[in-house]
């Protein structure tokens, strides 16, 4: 079975700094894969490469066997990859619903002239856009419903902005969702909620999900597989337990020797 998303030998340098170095990665249909790694490991760069914001220096990125390298970001999104931003890049002065409606651009057709004269086809499409936006927002329970639709996005709380980012990405109707730190800045209750939501996105929404996350409880709760990066190189891959106990991963997070110390500490009481 070929994977839905495949990266093969992808490399990216900024000046002399190799941010991603010969990375291979495969994400299968309806799988949740987490990418972990210390700050500066190249996780967000990986997302920028997949979504076409950066072009790789070498290697291939394939969606269902189709090479994405060199395509414009909006083309890649149209082909089925949508993302959220770690730093939150909502359309702040548009309403909550408009944010979600805007992301359906690539899935709709009505041109400017048809919009000006409001042809029946354009009006039908517009109704569908509204309906789909409401569906996506309903995914978050009551968080983004009702009176919130007409509020500008800047009036939302931080956690709701993260939810709206996800709703907006969903509205692009992708096969794969790339979530960049969906739980960052959330309180424990909200973190718990987002963990459940990501599972629901896969189970009910049918999305394949690639997620960057620092909160290990979230990673443990959702991941089918975990990939650990350090200095742009994949240092471990497998189930959460395998990766979390991998000496290289512990070393990357805690420093050289930490893995041995931990092994010693484990050994001592025995």
């Amino acid at each position: 079975m070929t994977a839905l998303l495949e990266l093969e030998g992808v490399s990216k340098s900024f000046g002399g700094l190799r941010v991603i170095d010969g990375l291979d990665l495969a994400v299968n249909e309806r799988e949740i894969v987490s990418v972990i790694g210390p700050n500066g490991a190249g996780k967000t760069t990986l997302f920028n490469l997949i979504t076409g914001l950066y072009h790789p220096d070498a290697g291939q990125i394939r969606l269902e066997g189709r090479n994405l390298v060199g395509l414009a970001p909006h083309r890649i999104t149209k082909l089925g990859i949508a993302r959220t931003f770690q730093t939150l890049r909502l359309f702040l002065n548009m309403t909550v619903k408009e944010n979600v409606m805007a992301a359906q651009y690539g899935r709709t057709k009505a041109g400017p002239f048809r919009s000006i004269v409001r042809t029946p086809g354009m009006r039908r499409e517009e109704r569908e856009i509204h309906q789909r936006a409401e569906e996506k927002l309903a995914f978050f329970g009551k968080r983004l419903m009702g009176y919130r639709w007409d509020q500008p996005a800047y009036s939302l709380s931080y956690a709701n902005r993260r939810r709206l980012e996800i709703a907006r990405a969903m509205a692009a109707e992708p096969r794969i969702l790339l979530l960049d730190e969906p739980a960052a800045g959330m309180n424990p209750v909200e973190t718990h909620e987002i963990t459940e939501l990501i599972a629901k996105l896969r189970d009910d929404g049918g999305y394949t999900i690639l997620v960057i996350e620092h909160d290990m409880h979230v990673v443990e709760g959702i991941s089918d597989r975990v990939t650990a990066l350090d200095h742009g190189v994949k240092i471990a891959e497998g189930s959460f337990e395998q990766v979390a106990t991998d000496p290289k991963v512990i070393e990357a997070y805690l420093g050289i020797g930490a893995a041995e110390e931990e092994a010693d500490a484990d050994a001592a009481p025995a």
Binding site: L53, F91, R143
Partner: protein
């Protein structure tokens, strides 16, 4: 004073048994209470926001249709026709700057392109005399094509860079039209500094528009259609994509919006609208010269769009009314010269009335009046030539002005000094605080009147620009989003 009804903080079903602190519904209700303004202003703004767009359009068209019945030909021309012309022109700029957020300083070149296009196709210049139903669509498409070219060339530019490149384009257009005048078909193409005279009136299928009234109604129909079309466009997929690109081009691109294509589309729609307005302008003027499309017009159009509120179609119309009517009041050819005086003192009063509390406002007004009489008495006591100058365009307020404002005769250089003193006085007043500021405000206000009566009243063009500047500064303080615009938040 009753507390507005507070929506009960809903107990989200998925939040059962969780801490209530930070329930965001409660925060939202608090914000709502804060934003709802009281009094007449609140009533007006709520009424405005509450009424549907169709109703606003009908009211506007109904009111505008009455104009020809109570205005004479000249008034209809300068107040009615020109307001609509500016409004239509600003509507196009609003697409580029308001909807898509692109700082396009080359906009008037498209207007000029449309005007020259019509002048070439329908005038004695080449003797072509095309009918308007043939030349206008062709020119609109041609101008949109020029917009496409400029858009293609600058599609990767944003902000300051885009502003500079488009400004070059505008200047290049004026320079070309003025100086180049290449020989095409045995005739200079642009007529050089003389422009192209003898442009035909608009002529649709043999029906010629020949009176101001006909042009006015034609323009009213064109403007209404354009406004409705753009309203629909703004509320469509394309409009949302433009707003998204204005907010965050990178996120828009990542959300399947082809940013470059939409930028070019905005340029084309803006250019097409400007081209259309240009054709009508050329027909109304029965001639074109390069001077019609200079930076002063660009400033006027930007002032209209910013004053009305970026991105608001009704705001564009409102801005056009305010700017054009005040410009016409200040015009030297105005039939009612005292109108400009009322406009000036009215604007000053409006700004000064912002002082709070009211007792202080009253004190400043009374103080300024008294200060004036005292200064006038002293000046005429020293020498009568300090107060016996001629009051320009005195009108109904002549005697009041003659006894209050000093208008010297025979003191050359007074005008220059008065102006410099005014600038200094404004700077000093703005630096002072509290009671000192109030005290300094009285002579400053009086000196504003002196400068007006001695200098500005005779120099309408300068006054208009100063007035726009003051108006925009005052607006920036009071309502940064423009009169009818929605407040935008840049960083939160």
């Amino acid at each position: 004073m009753s507390e507005p009804e507070r929506p009960a903080a809903p107990n989200a079903s998925d939040a059962a048994g969780r801490p209530k602190i930070g329930v965001d519904e409660w925060v939202a209700s608090a914000e709502e209470r804060h934003e709802r303004s009281r009094g007449l202003g609140g009533l007006v703004s709520r009424g405005w926001e509450g009424s549907p767009a169709e109703a606003k359009l009908i009211v506007f068209v109904a009111l505008a249709s009455t104009l020809p019945f109570w205005m004479n030909e000249g008034e209809l021309f300068s107040y009615g026709l020109y307001t609509l012309l500016y409004a239509l022109l600003a509507l196009g700029l609003n697409i580029v700057v308001g909807f898509a957020g692109l700082l396009d300083l080359g906009y008037v070149a498209f207007y000029g392109f449309g005007a020259y296009g019509y002048a070439l196709f329908s005038s004695n210049h080449y003797g072509l005399h095309w009918q308007a139903e043939a030349s206008i669509p062709l020119i609109v498409l041609g101008t949109a094509a020029v917009g496409l070219i400029l858009g293609l060339a600058s599609r990767r530019l944003l902000g300051d860079y885009l502003a500079i490149v488009t400004l070059f384009f505008a200047q290049a257009f004026v320079a070309f039209v003025n100086n180049s005048n290449p020989k095409v078909a045995g005739e200079g193409l642009t007529g050089g500094p003389n422009g192209i005279p003898g442009v035909d009136p608009l002529n649709f299928f043999g029906f010629k528009l020949h009176s101001t009234k006909q042009y006015y109604f034609f323009l009213l129909i064109v403007f209404s259609l354009a406004a409705v079309g753009l309203y629909f466009l703004n509320n469509s997929r394309t409009g949302r994509a433009w707003r998204a690109l204005r907010e965050d081009p990178l996120a828009a691109e990542a959300m399947s919006i082809p940013v470059n294509r939409l930028k070019i589309l905005a340029f084309m729609f803006g250019a097409g609208t400007a081209g259309l307005t240009g054709t009508i302008f050329a027909a109304i003027q029965t001639g074109v010269v390069a001077g019609n499309f200079d930076v002063a017009l660009l400033i006027t159009i930007y002032a209209i769009v910013i004053l009305g509120g970026l991105g608001s179609i009704a705001g564009v119309l409102f801005g056009a009314i305010v700017i054009n009517v005040s410009t016409q009041f200040l015009a030297p050819s105005n039939d009612h010269p005292e109108l400009k005086r009322w406009l000036f003192y009215g604007a000053i009063l409006l700004i000064a009335a912002k002082i709070r509390p009211w007792s202080r406002t009253a004190a400043v007004f009374v103080g300024t009046a008294a200060f004036g009489f005292v200064v006038h008495a002293i000046a005429s006591g020293i020498s009568s030539d300090w107060t016996n100058g001629t009051v320009v365009d005195a009108g109904s307020a002549a005697s009041a002005i003659r006894n209050w404002v000093i208008v010297p005769s025979g003191h050359t250089g007074f005008q220059t000094w008065a102006y410099i003193v005014l600038v200094a006085a404004i700077v000093v007043t703005s630096q002072l605080k509290g009671w000192w500021r109030m005290a300094a405000l009285i002579p400053t206000l009086y000196w504003v009147a002196v400068v007006w009566e001695n200098v500005l009243v005779q120099q309408s063009a300068v006054t208009a620009l100063i007035l726009f500047g003051v108006l925009l500064i005052a607006l920036m303080q009071a309502r940064p989003q423009g009169l009818l615009g929605t407040a935008r938040v840049e960083i939160v």
